[in-house]
């Protein structure tokens, strides 16, 4: 018998001691160091084939560039490798549980991406004749119908570009509505637990912010609202309230609060960032809201993309509907009429202005509608129930070891812990979070909301399986016990295994380096040359 064989050993052998040296490249096998394009790019080559125009006889007047644009290029394969290598230094929902409270990091279906790339959506221009894009307005209108139905409202301003932009749109509508009544009001009430965008938006629209303290149980008491309304009689334009709130709790007195603000002649702005908890379970319109933005990139699964783009349509009560910004779609029976300019307005329509050029985030609308149609009314409700179920499952799995600031009780779609369970361990919320990274998890939201010491806000979303939650809970328990056992080393320098150790944010802020600058060429002393 004859046979060909390889001469290599096929058993794994003993692992032996850890690797005694750094690698030459700084790479760790699949974990690659990647320079900046400015360090590896070419000035004389590029990754796009373009034919030089035959005769270049410009009509640029005296506006031609005097210096060439100083930007390097990479060929196509180099570009691919550069960005693929960089991408591998990112955590992502597709690779693991992403429990960022208040951010709703749910699965992003790829059907959405496919639909958004249909040429009939991706390759149409916002200013091509309206007669050539009926399907675009049909889509916007259908999405608007879903949003109004889910929220129990009769109007929605679609164009805001993200949640904070939606807040701005809602608050500008309120300001305009107040002015239309011939009134002037200067104050907006915002609970201490609010997202930072709320006070920032109120200030941007020209209001003074008065904050409302949270009560012991993490919710807002109607008495506290009334007290502020009375202290600033006739001056309160609006209350901005997140519901479910940022402590993961549904505001039990929300209807009374809405009534109080309405009786005082003000408006109720609801931050809809946490809408994922109650889709199909309650309609914000029934709670008395006047305006609420909906983060399509949270509740309706459009991807976060490393920080955007988002989309923040704002549903409006009948009292605010007349003030919705341009452009909007007017429905005449089944006919859709696009209103872009003030000359097209009918009696009663008094838009406060315009939030953005064109029609808003069409690409996000397609994705959100694709998600809604996929889920349907039954699936959307189930998704909210699962989101709340998952959060409570995590709560129950951890509440004996970690501390719930407001006592043991059900939460909505996110569960809030404070840092008192870390007292006397020498481990901070930040250390704890960084140790989660070594375990393969993205940390939860930390130090927010501000009303709780060392807050840890966990939102698992409905996208997690039970097995995934079990492993997460087991990991968290192990970390807590380790902290309590005084194993500080596991936390203090963490993360140890990420592409980078902790970064020096102080140095970054003291001497900001915000772009790449070519290093000074090293001077060679003549006598040494």
């Amino acid at each position: 018998m004859t046979m060909n064989h390889q001469g290599r050993p096929t058993r794994a052998g003993e692992a032996g001691p850890p690797m005694p040296h750094q690698t030459f490249t700084g790479n760790k096998a699949l974990d690659m160091e990647e320079p900046l394009i400015f360090e590896i790019g070419h000035m004389d080559n590029c990754g796009v084939d373009l034919d030089e125009p035959m005769d270049f006889v410009p009509r640029l007047g005296n506006h031609m560039r005097s210096e060439p644009v100083e930007l390097p290029a990479l060929s196509e394969p180099e570009t691919m490798r550069h960005y693929v290598r960089m991408s591998r230094n990112n955590y992502a929902i597709d690779s693991g549980l992403y429990p960022l409270g208040s951010c709703t990091m749910k699965h992003n279906p790829r059907l959405n991406e496919k639909m958004a790339r249909l040429p009939g959506f991706a390759d149409i221009h916002p200013l091509q004749p309206i007669s050539t894009v009926p399907g675009a307005f049909e889509l916007i209108s259908e999405l608007a119908d879903w949003l109004m139905e889910l929220t129990g409202t009769n109007a929605v301003a679609m164009s805001p570009k993200a949640g904070a932009h939606g807040e701005q749109c809602g608050m500008m509508s309120i300001k305009h509505a107040i002015a239309a009544k011939g009134e002037e009001r200067s104050i907006v009430l915002v609970p201490e637990s609010a997202h930072g965008t709320n006070p920032a938006t109120a200030a941007l629209v020209g209001y003074k912010v008065v904050s409302i303290p949270a009560r012991e149980d993490g919710t807002v008491a109607v008495e506290a609202v009334i007290e502020k309304i009375e202290a600033h009689a006739g001056q309160v334009a609006a209350l901005m309230l997140t519901n479910p709130n940022t402590c993961g709790l549904f505001e039990p007195e929300v209807i009374e609060i809405a009534n109080a603000i309405h009786e005082a002649g003000g408006y109720f702005y609801c931050d809809g960032a946490n809408f994922n908890a109650i889709v199909g379970k309650a309609k914000p319109g029934d709670l008395g809201i006047d305006a609420m933005h909906i983060n399509l990139h949270k509740t309706f699964s459009t991807p976060h993309g490393g920080g955007g783009p988002g989309s923040g349509p704002v549903v409006l009560s009948d009292r605010l509907a007349p003030y919705a910004p341009l452009p909007f779609i007017r429905k005449n029976g089944d006919e859709l009429e696009v209103v872009e300019t003030t000359d097209q307005l009918k009696d009663g329509e008094q838009p406060f202005g315009r939030m953005t050029a064109f029609f808003g985030q069409m690409g996000m609308y397609v994705r959100a509608l694709s998600y809604m149609q996929s889920h349907g009314s039954d699936g959307l409700k189930q998704a909210s129930e699962d989101a709340v179920l998952n959060a409570n499952y995590v709560r129950v799995g951890l509440q004996d070891l970690m501390t719930l600031p407001f006592g043991v009780k059900p939460c909505m779609h996110e569960v809030l812990f404070d840092d008192s369970f870390l007292n006397d361990t020498g481990v901070s919320t930040l250390d704890f979070a960084k140790a989660m990274i070594d375990e393969g998890y993205h940390p939860m939201t930390m130090y927010f909301p501000l009303v709780v010491s060392g807050a840890m806000l966990i939102e698992p979303t409905e996208s997690e399986s039970r097995a995934s939650l079990d492993l997460f809970v087991a990991t968290m328990r192990d970390l807590v016990m380790s902290a309590k056992a005084g194993e500080k080393d596991r936390f203090e320098g963490a993360p140890f295994l990420a592409p980078r150790r902790r970064l020096d944010e102080t140095a970054a802020a003291r001497k900001p380096i915000l772009k790449w600058v070519a290093p000074e060429p090293t001077k060679v002393e003549p006598e040494l040359a």
Binding site: E505, T506, A509, R510
Partner: protein, 123 residues
């Protein structure tokens, strides 16, 4: 020369009709690493409790208030280049600004060093 303190964690050293103003050791310890200081304009007339300067750390940004009525006469340019000085020497080299007193009577309502220490204890 006498030294006064405010509830906003600022100190003043008064010489003649000019007060030198900075933030306290306690304030810097609460802020953490200071990364930026914005100074008031010289010649600016301010009222007590006006926001006149800003101090930023990595994790927080705080207003510095005018402790008294008066006119800003000088900002400490050193802090623009070396904000870290606020952490190193808050009650010395890292003063924020000097102001000409508009109403010296307001000094009476401020705290002494002992009062301020007691006040910090209560926080």
């Amino acid at each position: 020369m006498s030294t006064y303190f405010t509830k906003d964690h600022e100190w003043l050293k008064v010489e003649g009709d000019v007060a030198t103003v900075g933030i306290t050791e306690f304030a810097q310890s609460q802020l953490g690493d200071v990364v930026f200081v914005e100074l008031p304009e010289n010649g600016k007339n301010v009222d007590q409790d006006d926001e006149v300067a800003v101090v930023e750390s990595v994790k927080a940004a705080s207003e510095v208030y005018a402790p008294l009525d008066g006119e800003i006469v000088e900002g400490n340019e050193l802090l623009v280049d070396e904000p870290a000085k606020v952490n190193e020497d808050p009650e010395g080299a890292a003063w924020f600004f000097k102001m000409k007193l508009g109403n010296a009577a307001q000094l009476e309502a401020l705290m002494s060093e002992a009062d301020y220490k007691a006040f910090v204890e209560t926080l």
